[in-house]
C-alpha cells in the first residue's frame, strides 16, 4: 500500500515537472537544458525557507516557484538572444552553475551532505504527517498546476509559442514580440518546476545535489519526446508510463548500485528509439527568410 502511495506521489511530482518542461521544449521548441536547475532551486528554497527562515508551507511553495521563475527570467534574458546551438550551450552552462553552487556553497546548501530534516507541510492546524495525507496535497497541487497549464496549452499564448517555433519571422510579421513570448514561456515553465521541487523536498524531507543531476534532464527530455513534444495529454501519458517503467526492476534481485544506472540506460534507450521513429517530425529546423 505504502509503495503504491509512494509511486503515486512520484508520478504527481513528475507530472508537474514534465508538463512545465513541455511548455518550453514542446510548444516553443526551445532546447532548454536548464529545467532541472529550476526544479533544484525550488527544492532548496523550500528546504532553506522552512528550516532557516521559518516560512510556512504556502509561503515556501510560492517562493520556490517565484525564485525559480526569476532565475529563469534572468537566464532567458541572456540565452534567448542566442540561436540554435548557442541557446543549448547557454542553458547548459546555467544549469551547471546551479549544480556547482549546490555542491560548493557549503555555508548555505551544506554541499553534498544535503539538507536533512525538512519538516512535513502543515496548513494551520492541519499536519500532513503520513504518506496518504501527503498524497492528498500532491493531488491538489497537481490538479491546480495541470489545470493552469492545460488552459495555457489551449490559449492564444500557446499558439504564438508554436508559431514562433516553426517560423519566427512569420510570427514577428504578425506583430508578435517573439523574445518576450519566449521569456514568458521560460518564466511560467520554471515557476512550475519550482513548485515540483518544493513538493519533492517536502516529500523526501531530505535533499542533496545528487537528485538534480544532469541525467534527470535527460529523463525529462525522454518524457517530453515520448509524449510527442507540445502534446498535453501525450506528456501526461508518457510521464505515467516512464516513471513506472523501471519499477518492475525493483522486484528482481539486483544490487541497488546497478539499479540506478539500469534505469538511466532503459530511459535513454527508449528516448533513442522514439527519436528514431519520429526523426522526420521532431524538432524541425527553423525556416529562414
Amino acid at each position: 500500500m505504502n509503495y503504491l502511495v509512494h509511486l503515486a506521489i512520484l508520478v504527481g511530482i513528475y507530472l508537474i515537472l514534465a508538463q512545465s518542461f513541455n511548455v518550453t521544449v514542446g510548444l516553443g521548441k526551445l532546447f532548454n537544458l536548464a529545467h532541472v536547475a529550476g526544479y533544484a532551486i525550488g527544492a532548496y528554497v523550500t528546504a532553506l525557507g522552512s528550516l532557516e527562515l521559518g516560512m510556512n508551507t504556502v509561503q515556501c511553495m510560492i517562493s520556490s516557484g517565484l525564485v525559480s521563475a526569476l532565475s529563469a527570467f534572468l537566464l532567458g534574458g541572456i540565452a534567448l538572444r542566442l540561436a540554435g546551438d548557442y541557446f543549448a550551450i547557454g542553458t547548459l552552462a546555467f544549469s551547471s552553475i546551479v549544480s556547482a553552487l549546490l555542491v560548493n556553497w557549503k555555508s548555505v546548501t551544506r554541499g553534498v551532505l544535503g539538507i536533512p530534516g525538512i519538516p512535513r507541510p502543515e496548513f494551520g492546524t492541519l499536519q500532513l504527517n503520513d504518506e496518504s495525507s501527503f498524497l492528498g496535497l500532491v493531488v491538489a497541487v497537481v490538479a491546480v498546476s495541470l489545470g493552469v497549464l492545460y488552459l495555457l496549452f489551449e490559449s492564444s499564448f500557446a499558439r504564438v509559442l508554436r508559431a514562433q517555433a516553426e517560423n519566427r519571422f512569420a510570427a514577428m510579421a504578425l506583430g508578435r514580440d517573439v523574445r518576450l513570448i519566449n521569456t514568458t514561456a521560460f518564466f511560467v515553465s520554471a515557476f512550475f518546476a519550482g513548485i515540483a521541487g518544493s513538493l519533492f523536498a517536502y516529500y523526501l524531507n531530505y535533499i542533496d545535489p545528487s537528485s538534480f543531476a544532469f541525467s534527470e534532464m535527460v529523463f525529462l527530455l525522454t518524457i517530453v519526446v515520448v509524449g510527442s513534444p507540445g502534446s498535453f495529454w501525450g506528456c501526461i501519458a508518457s510521464t505515467v508510463f516512464l516513471v513506472l517503467l523501471p519499477e518492475p526492476l525493483r522486484f528482481i534481485e539486483i544490487p541497488s548500485s546497478i539499479l540506478g544506472p539500469m534505469r538511466q540506460l532503459l530511459h535513454s534507450v527508449v528516448l533513442l528509439t522514439v527519436v528514431w521513429l519520429n526523426r522526420k517530425r521532431l524538432f524541425p529546423s527553423q525556416r529562414e527568410v
Binding site: 490559449s155 492564444s156 516553426e166 517560423n167 504578425l174 514580440d177 524541425p284
Partner: protein, 251 residues
C-alpha cells in the same frame, strides 16, 4: 505612406542594397522586378525589420521606423507574405488565422478558450477561411495544403491581421497556373479594400494586371521606374533579364 530614402545594406562583405530611394502613396500597388540577387527580398527584409540597414531611413505613415523591431512594425500595419511560405505548417488553417487575429487582442482576454473574445476570434477566423475557399479545411494542417492554397491562406492571414501595407514576395512562386488566377483575384480584392501593396514578381504580365508602376532593381540600385508598358519596351530591362552577357560580348 511609405518613404524609403538612400537605403544601404551590407551583409558580410557583400553590398546588397546601394542607396535605394522610393516612396509609395496610400492605395498604390507597386511592382518590384529585377534579376536574382538584385536585392529585392533584402529590401523587403529591411522594410519588415529582419535586417537593419547600415545607412538610410524608412518612414511609414510619417513616422520613422528604421530601427523598430519587426513586431512593432507589424503592429503599425506592415504585413508580409514570404517567398518561402510564411504559414505555420504544423498548425491548422484555423490556428494560422487565429494567431493573426489574436495579435490585436490582449493575451488575457484570449487566455480561456470559452471566453467571448476567444469565441469571437474563432468565428472570425472561420469566416476568413471561407473567404478563400478553405472552409472545409479549417482543421487540416496548413502544411497539407497545395501551394496555391498556402499562398491564399498567407495573404488572407495578413489581411486578417489588419495589415495596411502588404509586402508580397513572389506570391505566385510555387503556385499552379490554375491557382494563379485565384491568387490574382485575392490580390485585387486586397487592392479594392484600399490597401497599399508592394509585389516582387518575375512575371511582368502578372504585375501588369495590378500595378500602374514598376520599379526595377539591379545590384541593389533602382535603375528604372515607370509603367509596366514602358518597362516592356525598355531595352535596358531586356538586356538585364535576357542578355547582359550577350550584349557585353557584342560590345
Amino acid at each position: 505612406m511609405l518613404r524609403v530614402s538612400d537605403l544601404h545594406l551590407q551583409i558580410g562583405d557583400a553590398a546588397i542594397l546601394n542607396g535605394v530611394t522610393f516612396s509609395v502613396q496610400r492605395g498604390d500597388t507597386v511592382g518590384i522586378i529585377g534579376p536574382n540577387g538584385s536585392g529585392k527580398t533584402s529590401l523587403f527584409n529591411c522594410l519588415s525589420g529582419f535586417v537593419l540597414p547600415e545607412k538610410g531611413t524608412i518612414h511609414f505613415n510619417d513616422a520613422e521606423i528604421t530601427a523598430l523591431p519587426p513586431f512593432a512594425r507589424a503592429e503599425l500595419g506592415i504585413g508580409r507574405v514570404f517567398q518561402s511560405f510564411g504559414i505555420f505548417r504544423e498548425m491548422s488553417v484555423l490556428e494560422n488565422l487565429m494567431v493573426a487575429l489574436e495579435g490585436r487582442t490582449s493575451v488575457w482576454r484570449t487566455l480561456f478558450p470559452w471566453s467571448s473574445s476567444s469565441r469571437a476570434i474563432r468565428e472570425e477566423a472561420k469566416d476568413y477561411a471561407a473567404q478563400v475557399g478553405l472552409a472545409q479545411k479549417i482543421n487540416h494542417k496548413a502544411g497539407a495544403l497545395s501551394g496555391g492554397q498556402m499562398r491564399l491562406l498567407e495573404i488572407i492571414r495578413a489581411l486578417a491581421f489588419g495589415a495596411e501595407l502588404f509586402l508580397l514576395d513572389e506570391p505566385t512562386a510555387g503556385v499552379s497556373p490554375k491557382m494563379k488566377e485565384e491568387v490574382a483575384l485575392l490580390i485585387s480584392r486586397v487592392q479594392s479594400l484600399g490597401k497599399t501593396t508592394l509585389i516582387i514578381e518575375h512575371d511582368i504580365n502578372f504585375v501588369q494586371s495590378f500595378s500602374k508602376r514598376v520599379i526595377v532593381l539591379d545590384q541593389g540600385r533602382i535603375i528604372l521606374e515607370g509603367t509596366p508598358e514602358e518597362m516592356r519596351r525598355n531595352d535596358l530591362l531586356q538586356e538585364i533579364y535576357f542578355g547582359r552577357n550577350m550584349s557585353q560580348a557584342v560590345m
